[in-house]
């Protein structure tokens, strides 16, 4: 069937509204339009219909399921920017746990390693000091007999006096004026608790420069019942074994030689008295710290969606740290995760395209914190913390300045600290041989446990 088109004013108007009317025919239409009220009304109706159609957002918005269906079928990555994701199959909490378990585990392992290493360092450096202040006896040493025991021993420390007076202690005074110990101790063959003493004393040697501070022998397996026999055994040692074969008593006689003579100071047979690598007081100055931030990206790309806008931004921007140090400076490690907005250009097969993303990255860093105790006011203390480390994408630097409050009293062996500060961080990353950086700054808050 042939469909007719007669160029009536109404038809010309339709062509004009659709942009299809030749320019040569416009004057004719405008002339009609100025005189014909029906034509004017028709034009209003056509424009109203067009206007209404343009508001039909439902028709112009394909559902997310349709988007996903297309891209999944073609094996392409679904571009989230086209439409909001319709169904979120993983909860925020699950997503957080799945991302956080690795840094948390790393923090725990790193903390344990650091604890062991630092403890061992402290033990090696401060053996004498620890012995003096903490009553940790050494396996064996010698007393300078020319110095009065009471003045150089732990008498200034009440704890030492207690320990010295315990049943398990044999005061070294009993050994004063005796013949100094030699290798013969090993060969004494004494019974009871002295046997243990002998075993611990196997490393006995003369150490002229070593002045011990305690003057007791600790033997957990010496009890009051056999104390007398032990003393007798020691006397035997004094009188015989110490001056055994190969040892010339006169060599060590103060009267004869005037030399400084050393005698066994303390012998510990209890593991609890030895070393104490993991005792709580050794952990003084340690800090376990968790902090969050609500920083948002700044500089280029700052208009990108930031974690600041996220509902659970604090939990997406979390770090756990471990610091050690008794002074103003504390050093440690920190691991965490946070999102850094990135905006850069990439070229692929001749196509230059902008990449804008806000990936959540894992990072680890070495941390130094400066906290001057003199500046503390009402238990509130300023701090400055800097860190340098690396992330999945590249190196990372961070600075934080703020205030922290530490409870004056310890609860269950630890003081609680709260901190609030301002932080600024920068991430460097490389893309196609070009270095880019991304900055973040914002509020930092957290809590810490001080041991």
């Amino acid at each position: 069937m042939k469909e007719l088109y007669n160029n009536t004013p109404s038809e010309l108007l339709n062509l004009y509204v659709d942009g299809e009317l030749p320019a040569s025919m416009e004057p004719h239409l405008f002339g009609q339009l100025s005189q014909n009220e029906g034509l004017q009304s028709e034009m209003r109706d056509l424009l109203s219909i067009r206007d209404a159609v343009q508001t039909d957002t439902e028709s112009f918005t394909p559902p997310a399921a349709a988007h996903r269906g297309v891209f999944d079928y073609l094996g392409y990555t679904y571009p989230g920017g086209i439409a909001p994701v319709a169904v979120q199959t993983v909860s925020k909490f699950q997503a957080f746990v799945s991302r956080a378990w690795l840094p948390v585990l790393s923090a725990v392992v790193a903390s344990l390693i650091t604890t062991v290493v630092v403890n061992n360092m402290i033990n090696q450096e401060g053996t004498k000091a620890n012995m003096a202040s903490k009553n940790i006896p050494v396996v064996s040493s010698y007393e300078d007999l020319s110095i009065e025991n009471s003045t150089k021993s732990g008498a200034t420390n009440p704890a030492d006096a207690d320990i010295a007076s315990s049943n398990n202690m044999i005061n070294i005074n009993m050994l004063n004026n005796s013949t100094p110990v030699a290798g013969g101790v090993n060969n004494s063959g004494s019974a009871g608790g002295v046997a243990a003493m002998e075993s611990k004393a196997s490393t006995t040697a003369f150490e002229p420069d070593n002045i011990a501070f305690n003057s007791y022998i600790s033997t957990d397996n010496v009890n009051s019942d056999n104390l007398n026999s032990d003393l007798a055994s020691i006397n035997n040692i004094n009188n015989s074994s110490f001056a055994g074969p190969g040892v010339k008593a006169s060599m060590y006689s103060p009267a004869s030689s005037g030399q400084r003579i050393y005698a066994p100071q303390s012998i510990s047979t209890s593991p609890s008295e030895f070393g104490g690598s993991f005792l709580p007081y050794r952990a003084k100055g340690y800090r376990l710290m968790a902090r969050f931030n609500n920083a948002r990206s700044t500089g280029p790309g700052s208009d990108l969606p930031s974690s600041f806008d996220s509902q659970f931004s604090a939990f997406e921007n979390i770090s756990i740290g471990f610091l050690a140090g008794d002074g103003d400076w504390k050093l440690g490690i920190e691991v965490g995760q946070e999102s850094f907005a990135q905006s850069f250009q990439s070229e692929d097969c001749g196509i230059l395209y902008n990449v804008e993303q806000n990936p959540l990255i894992f990072w680890g860093a070495i941390v130094a914190s400066y906290e001057n105790a003199d500046l503390k006011l009402y238990d509130i203390q300023p701090f400055i913390q800097v860190s340098a480390g690396g992330s999945e994408l590249g190196p990372l630097g961070r600075g934080i300045i703020g205030l922290q409050y530490i409870t004056p009293r310890a609860f269950y062996g630890a003081k609680l600290g709260l901190r609030l500060g301002f932080e600024s961080a920068r991430l460097w990353y490389q893309n196609q041989n070009e270095f880019n950086s991304s900055d973040r700054s914002g509020i930092n808050f957290g809590m810490s446990l001080h041991f």
Partner: protein
């Protein structure tokens, strides 16, 4: 130094779909972003059924991707996409008659839309009353913004016929909406 993806023409992007990996994905995503609203609008308004429209919409882009894999020239992207969508819609129409779902009915009757929203709902209703050959002309013109020549290309009918059908489709819709439009013109 290359151009930004948005600066590429449809033809260039179409050619890139044949590339490997990321390039093809980016090119397809860009074309998809440009034309998916119009394709979906056509499918939804022509079929009048959301579920069916989604199926046809997805099928359209999958077919389009297959077309791109074949070494062919493409001069009018929107015409090509809408031609695919139209063919699929027509086939679908032949298989089954579209029906107004209960949910659509409830939405229509219980919403209290503004004047413009109400007019839009009336337009949608009146579209359903049009014969398919007029309805698709109206959709291609008003929803997809195609020129008369493009519509002729998509539908395969002469340009003069396109002009007439578009004109008559609008006249029909005006007739249906006339009482409402008169009321609207009073305010």
């Amino acid at each position: 130094m290359g151009k930004s993806l948005a600066e590429y023409s449809d033809q260039e992007l179409f050619d890139c779909i044949n590339e490997d990996g990321r390039t093809a994905e980016l090119a397809f995503s860009e074309l998809y972003g440009r034309y998916s609203p119009r394709v979906y609008a056509y499918c939804l308004r022509f079929l009048g059924n959301e579920v069916e429209a989604q199926d046809i919409f997805q099928e359209t882009f999958i077919r389009f991707h297959q077309c791109a894999s074949q070494d062919r020239d493409m001069t009018n992207m929107s015409a090509l996409l809408l031609k695919i969508a139209r063919n699929l819609c027509v086939n679908s129409k032949r298989r089954e008659k579209s029906t107004v779902t209960f949910e659509d009915y409830m939405m229509t009757n219980y919403d209290e839309p503004s004047d413009k929203e109400e007019l839009l709902k009336l337009i949608k209703t009146s579209l359903d009353l049009l014969p398919d050959e007029y309805k698709e002309m109206f959709i291609l013109r008003e929803y997809d913004g195609l020129s008369y020549a493009d519509i002729a290309d998509v539908t395969g009918v002469p340009l003069s016929t396109v002009k007439v059908r578009i004109f008559r489709s609008k006249q029909k819709i005006r007739e249906i909406l006339q009482p409402y439009l008169e009321e609207l013109s009073k305010y």
